[in-house]
């Protein structure tokens, strides 16, 4: 199909779609006047029922924790897919080029960037950990904090120390971390089944709202998800970085 034909078909389809969207949006409650029952109920009872002050995290890891289990395994599965797609092909081999064997120098990385990359590592680890464990009190939680945690080794890459990153956080460790996180969330659910008879039902004391150890299982589940998310994204990123830096096409025999 030529580009011109494709664009005119799209123009026609987009017009119809726009009309459908307008009709559909006209049927929604007016902006600012939403009266969803679920949200109202959660807003009303979330704090007293779960002792969590961040209701988004409370919903994520408790009220609809089962969905998060599925979401987590979507992440897990797609990272498996990335590893599979970016595997070492038959005509490829891994290994840095000779001139890069010592350190990968990111093109144009200045001394200042390299220093900043190293300084950022402990800062990012601290912020990430803080966000993961305070998810039930303030905005944050496993997904958000896990990403921040994962950026810490990435800043080592910015510092031009990719091969050393591989040494500090080898693939096997990342993959094990990801799997442990994913399994940990499922274990929280099974613990609910064992201790109180219902999958993913809270089995820990609720504590005092606003305290670090409050809201029962939410903190534990959030921690498991944090480990899983940071592991998953590190596996994905290192697969991509390997493609750029490590994987070379084998010379024709």
């Amino acid at each position: 199909m030529s580009r011109c034909v494709r664009l005119s078909v799209f123009a026609l389809a987009a017009t119809v779609l726009a009309a459908v969207l307008i009709v559909g949006f006209a049927g929604l409650p007016a902006f600012g006047h939403f009266h969803g029952v679920d949200g109202n109920v959660i807003d009303g009872v979330g704090v007293t029922e779960r002792h969590a002050t961040d209701l988004v995290t409370a919903l994520n890891f408790d009220f609809r924790g089962f969905d998060t289990l599925g979401e987590e395994f979507i992440l897990f599965g797609s990272v498996l897919g990335i590893v599979l797609i970016l595997r070492e092909l038959r005509d490829e081999h891994q290994g840095p080029r000779l001139e890069e064997a010592d350190e990968h120098m990111l093109g144009g990385a200045s001394e200042a960037l390299r220093l900043l990359g190293l300084i950022l590592v402990p800062v990012l680890l601290a912020i990430g950990g803080y966000i993961v464990v305070h998810g039930q009190i303030t905005p944050g939680g496993g997904f958000q904090g896990g990403i921040v945690l994962a950026t810490a080794p990435l800043s080592l890459f910015l510092a031009g120390r990719y091969l050393r990153t591989r040494f500090v956080a080898p693939h096997t460790m990342l993959e094990v971390g990801e799997a442990v996180g994913a399994a940990g969330y499922a274990m929280v659910g099974i613990a609910g089944l064992v201790f109180v008879g219902i999958f993913l039902k809270n089995f820990l004391p609720f504590g005092i709202p606003g305290h670090l150890l409050s809201a029962g299982q939410i903190d534990v589940a959030s921690l498991a998800v944090g480990v899983e998310v940071s592991g998953a994204f590190l596996v994905a990123w290192s697969e991509f970085l390997d493609q750029a830096i490590m994987v070379r096409r084998r010379r024709a025999q």
């Binding site: 969207l21 600012g32 949200g39 002050t53 988004v56």
Partner: protein
């Protein structure tokens, strides 16, 4: 201006679709898909907004404060995670397509055209 969030969402959706259709580079196609997906964030957050509502974080406001709907916000969180994974998978495919065909132009992916 109560229609503005939905107009923005519809615009993002169609602009992203245009990007997918008109793109000559797989990476741009994938980025256009993320624009389409970001339309869903705007819809969800727009639907859940209540006039004058606070964020559903009761750490420093009384528990009886009127707040916006937290359910749609959780859906947006799920949405973001899914978008990240889909984008990563597609980018991995683009890497392999580039290796195989030496180009990121969808028109150069010869096997697809047969």
């Amino acid at each position: 201006m109560s229609f503005l969030p939905f107009a923005v969402a519809a615009w993002l959706f169609i602009a992203g679709l245009y990007g997918i259709v008109a793109s000559r580079n797989l990476v741009r196609t994938i980025l256009s898909l993320t624009i389409v997906q970001s339309a869903t964030y705007v819809v969800l957050l727009g639907v859940g907004y209540r006039n004058g509502g606070a964020a559903p974080i009761f750490a420093d406001i009384p528990a009886v404060t009127k707040a916006v709907d937290p359910v749609v916000q959780v859906l947006v969180l799920t949405d973001v995670v899914i978008e990240a994974t889909v984008t990563a998978l597609l980018l991995a495919l683009a890497v392999q397509a580039h290796k195989r065909f030496g180009s990121l132009d969808p028109n150069d992916l010869r096997v697809l055209r047969d």
